[in-house]
Symmetry: C2
Subunit: 229 residues, 2 copies
């Protein structure tokens, strides 16, 4: 993309006008620009110059806010992972403590936009691919993943407890693994081929699947219909 011989004048004038933004705002902008670059062109497309152009600044500014490019990348990774798991977990806060509805809400939050999103998947996959090689990313990767699974496990535990069906820890673990797998798998399918699913279809499949996996209903048909509206 040879659009500008030099880093990018941004305006036609000699020295482009610029306005100073607070540190918090600039860091956020840079992280957002990084995620956009990774989503559109992959991790290798996220060069300091591409990121800077996207954020509307020049490349040098990145080093003013981050010790190196890798730190920015890592911050971006933490941002998107936190956004994803945070969104799913936040859905629990709005629901009364009925375990059935809590798990259903968790599923719905995980299987709808903005978590179901091709760009989010692209970023996740790019980072995950390099996580094996890069120890700094690897640790965060594992932490987020296991944290999500723990959340699932505690939700499943609540559900069994409320239903009066005691389960051994090993059995609970297996249930959590299976439920987590369904969520992950449906998430991938939704991100990759979102256009082949009706709006709430993935959520419905997810709820039905979890009900069958656990042998418990998450909501009565009428309640589900109301919730899904």
């Amino acid at each position: 993309m040879p659009d500008a011989p030099h880093p990018a004048p941004l305006t036609g004038g000699r020295r482009p006008k610029f306005r100073r933004a607070g540190e918090q705002r600039r860091r956020q902008d840079l992280i957002e620009a990084t995620l956009a670059c990774v989503a559109e062109r992959g991790l290798e497309g996220a060069t300091v110059r591409a990121i800077a152009r996207r954020a509307g600044v020049t490349a040098g500014l990145i080093r003013h806010y981050f010790p190196g490019k890798q730190d920015l990348v890592q911050a971006a990774y933490a941002a998107i992972m936190g956004r994803m798991t945070g969104h799913s977990k936040a859905a629990l806060g709005d629901v009364e403590p009925d375990p059935r509805r809590r798990l259903a809400a968790f599923l719905a939050a995980s299987l709808e936009p903005p978590v179901i999103d091709a760009r989010v998947f692209s970023v996740w996959a790019s980072f995950s691919g390099r996580a094996t090689a890069e120890p700094s990313l690897s640790a965060a990767h594992r932490a987020y993943y296991l944290g999500f699974r723990d959340e699932v496990e505690s939700l499943v535990a609540e559900l069994f407890a409320a239903a009066g069906r005691p389960v051994a820890p090993s059995e609970l673990r297996r249930h959590a693994i299976a439920v987590n797998a369904v969520i992950d798998g449906l998430w991938i399918e939704g991100c990759l081929a979102g256009d082949s699913f009706a709006p709430r279809e993935l959520v419905e499949i997810g709820i039905t699947s979890v009900e069958r996996l656990l042998g418990l209903r998450l909501a009565t048909p009428s309640a589900r219909k109301a919730e899904l509206t």
Copy 2:
């Protein structure tokens, strides 16, 4: 890894000895080296020089067998995807036409090494991340993914037919989506945290989960025990 100032003398002599390999062999070596580089250092670590060093040749040779680096990368992607789906599908050939055992074998093949493997996941994720951006990869990506899901759907259809339980196409589709999701999700979990699972545990969880999802048994407990040995 600054080991050699120039492309790499490979031997101490003036011009290193080399032996000619057949075209098929060299192409395969280059593809293998590419996969190794991607697995260890991510897609951006797969430079022509790194690949060439790994394959025991010099960088220029790549252009002799592939029009450009991108063609090699694409060939490597096709190779690993074909290996994965091929391994799972090949497992069907060895099993008598009992749909229950066929689906069980398919699950086992998909949830064990060499398909369950951290390096395989790393490569898959790296490519998937860039597939969104790169149309050439995107098409192959979708094709392999939907091909796998179609395979699952036909296996599930066989199973229902053998059990005498007719299902509407829309219902069959949903079952296939759910089963596919469980396979994908367990595959990811196994690749990321393979050390936290007992040898055949993922396969057992997979079979149990699919049985619950479909409301059918894939094998009697005794048969399963024999099969898993």
